[in-house]
């Protein structure tokens, strides 16, 4: 953890060749994906709030991770802003009606209900938080890979960002596996979190039309379905989780 904290990545702007991006241009779909990803990365503090109002805030090792993780995600959002600026695209946050699926009610809860539910769940809820965080990183890697395919001029940046996500995954997967292997209640709470989840994390804050675009563009095609299946396999391989949990995640990625 301390090694990660010591080597966090700040601004990427010096590494971004804005002139090359401007002259190559970006297809409308690529711009759209960049905007969705930027808004998701910018939603990090909102995610942090949802974690910190529960017992997760007591775990100093996890909060130390979240501190560096939020810092890196701030600068990832800034890098995506730099891309949008380079092609003269709109940098405003996406706006529009949200999806109001009853299944996602738990994801839309405010801090009061989350804190109350968190108090009932107790300290093992951390396992659910790190596991859903891990799944979210896998999903975001798939999305960034898709971006690299859709816009080759961004391939250097995508490689950089995938490497950052690899480091987040290293922490989260080790932590999730340890917690899930050690405690039945941790498994139970994690299964429940997967049943209630909307992907990617923060999706409930993104307009419905943009979520549909994300689901179709990243996970809709043959390759997208393969990527979703890979994520399902990884979920199923976690201690205490089965292929049914993996399938639940995959089914929602392209819903």
């Amino acid at each position: 953890m301390r090694e990660f904290a010591r080597t966090v990545q700040g601004s990427h702007r010096d590494e971004i060749d804005a002139a090359a991006i401007a002259s190559a241009g970006l297809a409308a779909d690529a711009v759209h994906l960049v905007r969705v990803l930027r808004d998701l990365e910018r939603g990090t503090l909102h995610r942090m709030r949802n974690l910190l109002v529960t017992a997760t805030h007591k775990d100093a090792r996890v909060t130390a991770f979240l501190t560096s993780w939020a810092f890196e995600k701030f600068w990832i959002a800034d890098a995506l802003d730099a891309v949008l600026e380079a092609v003269g695209a709109d940098t405003a946050a996406l706006e529009g009606p949200r999806r109001r699926s009853p299944r996602e009610r738990a994801e839309r809860r405010g801090p009061v209900r989350r804190a109350i539910a968190g108090n009932f769940a107790g300290t093992q809820l951390v396992a659910a938080h790190v596991t859903t965080g891990l799944i979210d990183e896998w999903i975001s890697q798939a999305a960034y890979r898709r971006l690299g395919e859709a816009a080759s001029v961004l391939s250097d940046l995508v490689t950089r960002l995938l490497a950052l996500k690899d480091r987040h995954i290293a922490f989260l997967s080790e932590d999730a596996e340890r917690r899930l292997a050690a405690n039945n209640r941790a498994v139970k709470l994690t299964r429940k979190a997967i049943a209630q989840a909307a992907w990617p994390i923060g999706a409930t804050e993104i307009p419905d039309a943009d979520r549909t675009f994300f689901e179709t563009f990243v996970f809709g095609g043959t390759e997208g379905r393969t990527a979703a299946a890979r994520i399902a396999e990884r979920v199923a391989a976690l201690p205490g989780l089965t292929s049914a949990h993996g399938d639940t995640v995959a089914a929602r990625l392209a819903s």
Binding site: D59, P111, N119
Partner: protein
Amino acid sequence: MAFDIDRYTATSDAVAWGDLDFDTFDTDPLPESTLRTLRYMCDIEYHTVCYLRDLLTTPSHKEADVGAFMTMWNREEFWHGEALAAVLAKHDITVDFDQLKATRLKLGWKDRLDPIKQSIMGGLVGNDFVAVHMAWGAANEWSANAAYLRMAELEGHPVLAELLKRIARQETRHVAFYASQARDRLKDSKKAQKLARFALSRFWGPVGSGVQEESEVTHVMNHLFAGPDGRKLVRDVDSHIAKLPGLEGLTIVEDSLEKRGIAA
């Protein structure tokens, strides 16, 4: 004066100590009472994330400037904790994440209800509640800044003094953010002024009180602020707070010394 958030984020960094010769602590170790105060400061810096939680229950984190600041500030404070832990480690005092977790677990129900209370207050009071948080944060940062500079001066240890000055420099920027936010939000709302005055005069306590044992709070206050010079510093902090709109005449930091019987 407006706070330049872009400049702040672009220059926000972990406090550096690799260039400082910590081996001088082997030949010139710090006295026990100083280590006790440093330990307190170290814990508090690590616990910043708990205070962040309270701020995040208000709608303010969705404002881009506030969100950007919170991200950087939380990380800078974490690194203050790491730097102070490195000094303590040179004196064979280990601060590890499990101990910090134990401290947080000990807080029990009060801590579990806090986010609920904070969110409900935020919901009832709305944006004016953000002003209270900002004024509270300014009071905390002003006193932290004074504490670090005072510690540097009292101890007279060149390596420790340099580290504490670096930390204090970052705290100065935190002060600038909180104070400018508090000023802007308070000046436009009489209700926010009343609320901030009420909250600070009734509930404010030195940073770390409520989390640390009261005996430790008293030790730190005594160590840093006892005597006429300490009292003068505390009055300076109070005078800054009292310049915020609607907070004229407040002496919350001095009151907290009086309450603990710290001699002037």
